[in-house]
């Protein structure tokens, strides 16, 4: 019918208009961000980053990030990004970092990653020796990391690597474990409560992060562990994709200004 054709044409026109509008806006934002990123470049300087973050009202204790694997950059680009992120976290006084890469490529090489980070940190810290504990859920280093947490000193970074299987699958595994225990009459359904599940998932996956920075191209959570997303601030900057210091810094500013009402 004629009206249907008219509507379709108008819809295409609307889509075009929205795409032009979004495109222009994103170009303007990209230009702003480009200049800001020149202004706020870290210059591999521990002092500059420390000064940037000193004035923040509050800082997260545990940051999680979502990074994308790309064919052009490959594993090297991922490793580079994680090295930079580790350095920025340490310079800002944040000692817990979780990196989520959905395919699990980073999880496959924890020792190589640890070596890469330890050889990258001297750019920022010079002679100062900093410990980096790289672990992933259910790895032997993970249990070591959780014991060192209770007396975490200020010169070591706990880096946890997680992937898709630590999201929904971890909860399903927990379900199987609980059902198994119930079949063996070790627990009853009344004992299955939020505290128990929280304790299990915090130990077997990661503790709850305070801030999640999404560095991927599109703003999607890509299967990040759902239980741990409850109250964490989520930051995504559409103008600058990929891991960059300006987005990291803006995320910290956003966290510092956020009001935590917890129901009130």
């Amino acid at each position: 019918m004629l009206s249907k054709i008219c509507f379709r044409v108008l819809l295409c026109a609307l889509h075009l208009f929205v795409r032009l509008f979004d495109g222009t806006l994103s170009w303007i934002r990209w230009t702003q961000s480009y200049f800001l990123s020149l202004l706020y470049h870290h210059h591999c300087s521990h002092d500059l980053i420390r000064r940037d973050t000193e004035s923040l009202k509050k800082r997260p204790k545990h940051i999680a990030v979502i990074v994308d694997y790309s064919e052009e950059g490959g594993i090297e680009a991922l490793v580079d990004s994680v090295c930079e992120l580790s350095a920025w976290c340490l310079c800002s006084g944040i000692y817990e970092l979780t990196v989520y890469e959905k395919n699990g490529y980073l999880k496959e090489h924890p020792t190589a990653l640890q070596k890469a980070i330890e050889s990258h940190l001297p750019y920022y810290f010079g002679e100062l020796r900093i410990n980096v504990n790289v672990s992933s859920p259910c790895s032997p280093e993970a249990s070591a990391a959780s014991t060192t947490e209770s007396h975490s000193d200020q010169t070591s970074l706990n880096l946890r690597l997680i992937a898709r299987e630590d999201g929904r699958d971890a909860i399903i595994d927990l379900a199987r474990g609980l059902v198994d225990l119930s079949v063996k009459h070790v627990i009853t359904s009344t004992q299955v409560n939020m505290e128990l599940i929280d304790k299990e998932l915090s130990e077997s996956v990661i503790p709850e992060p305070d801030l999640l920075i999404v560095f991927s191209k599109k703003f999607r959570l890509q299967g990040f562990p759902p239980w741990h997303l409850r109250l964490c601030e989520i930051y995504y900057d559409e103008s600058l994709r990929g891991v960059n210091y300006l987005t990291y810094f803006k995320a910290l500013i956003h966290y510092s200004d956020a009001e935590m009402r917890l129901g009130h």
Binding site: F7, V18, G167, I171, R176, D180, L229, I234
Partner: protein, 265 residues
């Protein structure tokens, strides 16, 4: 001056023009695919009321009106499921006065949309009240159960009213149910997979969440539909408070969804 603007905004010719514009936009947007499941976190009623020097109750009432408008537009566009975060289990920490007030507003609001000829009848909506219903006052609990029973056979669309709800409560409930089934000998560990788990969730038999909108500028999920939105959901954090989140701010999100879908295929 502020009052003059409000009066102008509500004058009949402008209302008529707004309605006609909405009709036109709905007809245009329906020509392409629309999201099947949309979630709303209705945040910012109290701050909006404070900003406009009104009582908190006014803010919550106008918040309900906004939900009703958005619900109507979603249904007209052909959205099959809408989930709205009405009250969190954490919100019981608020003063008794405010909690009672919100319960009253929920009671009258739901009664309104279920009244003869209103939204539920018009669009054949199935209403599900999702959450820990035992913590509600008895009269409200009774009313919710009655409404759910009355609408459970409707097939037009579904409204999930999360009241009082948190996602962790939902996941905990699902795990508890699985363990209870195992206690009764109806389940073994090998039989558990994602589908079995999802059948035990409170929001079950549901489309994947396509868009999640959170108003008031807060960039958190605040324990809402974590299991449903952590994969491919388009999460939109909007700066406006909920009563200011009007239909014309919402429609561009649908257009962007359609553009995304076209780019994918």
């Amino acid at each position: 001056m502020g009052n003059l603007m409000e009066w102008l905004k509500n004058c009949p010719p402008l209302q008529w023009a707004e309605d006609k514009f909405e009709d036109l936009m709905v007809n245009i947007i329906r020509c392409s695919s629309v999201p099947q499941h949309i979630g709303f976190v209705m945040d910012g009623n109290r701050r909006w009321a404070r900003q406009h020097r009104m009582e908190t109750a006014e803010g919550h009432s106008l918040g309900f009106e906004t939900l009703k408008d958005l619900l109507r537009v979603c249904l007209r566009l052909g959205v099959k499921e809408v989930s709205a975060f009405g009250f969190s289990l954490e919100n019981f920490k608020r003063s008794k006065y405010e909690v009672d007030m919100i319960m009253e507003i929920a009671k009258s609001s739901l009664a309104q949309i279920c009244s003869h000829g209103d939204l539920v009848d018009q669009y054949n909506i199935r209403i599900r009240v999702v959450g820990d219903l035992d913590r509600l006052p008895d009269d409200l609990h009774e009313q919710f159960v009655k409404i759910m029973k009355r609408t459970e056979k409707n097939t037009g669309a579904t409204l999930n009213l999360c009241f009082p709800y948190t996602s962790r409560y939902e996941i905990t409930q699902s795990l508890q149910r699985l363990v209870k089934k195992a206690e009764d000998g109806r389940l073994t560990p090998d039989e558990i997979d994602e589908k079995v788990f999802e059948k035990c969730l409170l929001i079950t038999d549901s489309h994947p969440l396509d868009i999640l909108v959170r108003t008031s500028g807060v960039k958190r999920l605040s324990d809402f539909m974590l299991w449903q939105c952590h994969e491919n959901t388009d999460i939109q954090f909007v700066r406006n408070y909920w009563p200011d989140f009007k239909v014309w701010r919402f429609l561009p999100m649908i257009l962007r969804y359609q553009i995304d879908q076209k780019a994918k295929s």
